[in-house]
Amino acid sequence: MTKLKAVFITVLFFALTGLTVYAIEQKMMSIQVKDGVVRSSPSFLGKIVTQLPYGERVSVQATKGAWYLIKKPEKSTDGWMHSSALSMKKIVLKPGASDVQQAASSDEITLAGKGFNQRVENDFISRNPQIDFTWINKMEKTVIPQNQILAFIKEGQLTPKGEE
């Protein structure tokens, strides 16, 4: 009996783990932020490997908490991205009429630049000439390099708990 039980458990184990790996290999996601930063390790402290543009499709190789190990389909290099930068939906960057029709009936497609976009903002400004985006644009230009954050943590004697 022990032998049969062992065989049964082994088969079940391989069947289940095999399925999991397969499922992860099939998972394709899209970058849903302006600048998709890819890092060498599953943490914001990880070195920046590359940056991927909005809408880029990547395949998810593995996950660790909220971090996904991703790879561009035709490339061999991979890196880690936080899941909040990724979407399950396919993002169509320059949607044509057929994409629009497809998006209307599908929950799996997002049209880039649809709805509220730069054109709408410009139209809003022409209606409200007193509105001023100078400081909003200045705010957006402020980018804090990761080494400055690290120095801030060190100087302030902060001890961050491991990222989950």
């Binding site: 049969l4 400055q148 100087e155």
Partner: protein, 314 residues
Amino acid sequence: MNRSSRRQFLRLTCKWSFWSFGVAPILSAFLAGCKTIDSLSKNVPSIQIGDINIDTKTIAENTKLVAHSFEDITPEQEYYIGRTVGAEILQKYRPYTSKKANNYINVMGQMLAQASDRPETFGGYHFLILDSDEINAYAAPGGLIFLTRGILKCCPNEDAVASVLAHEIGHVQHKDGLRAIKQSRLTTALTSIAITGAKTYGHEDLSKLTDTFEDSISDITKTLIVTGYSRSLEYQADLAALNILQRTGYNPKGLVVMLNQMKTQLKPGRQDFAKTHPSPDNRLSEIQKQTAAYSVVKTPKARQTRFEDALKSI
């Protein structure tokens, strides 16, 4: 294999086949339910069950309409909404232009945002101090966060400042700004967007879309500046803040320190936190359970020195 273990094996097999052949089809039928209603509506306009007549077309249409919620707003659209909400806030307040103070707030804010459940937004998190004695802070959708000199004066140390920033990051994380947009606008906007698409819409479509955009912006700014979010959204933002503080190594009691200070400085009847937020006492009692275990805030000297140095002009 003896008799009893064979029986055990058979029982196990039966159990597994029950789950795979019995429950799975029921589950998948349930999951396919929406599709069924959809396809029903095309062929059969109504179903008669006893005396009740069910109009399947209406059910299908309503299902589609209900699906149009704030969750359907893409991060890219959230970004454009946030920019204009931010510009509207800056119609009411002047920015406080000290580079040193704003840089301090941005480095701290960025670190806190990275520890939140939503560290990445379309355009990222950015922070700005407003030149006002009023006690206030705002989070525009997508991560543009504003805080007044007045609320910074309620902070005797860095851990307290971090609690204000983390609370606002909590609102961005929970998309509370987008929740303030009335459902009717979403239904109109998202339906017309779905039909007309992006690059193809003409002048009239653009004009309609801008109407909806203007209305949505006004829903959000009215909530942020005049009416405030619901109490429960505020408490949830406080809980998110406690989490972020704890993850970054700040003392979650920083929020307690800030609220106690705010209590002494808020003046009733003013258009500030007193009007748009639950009272500091209520917020304190809501977070008591989570903060009770922590000791009083004692910040290291270096942290206190840089805090005082960065914000001394406030």
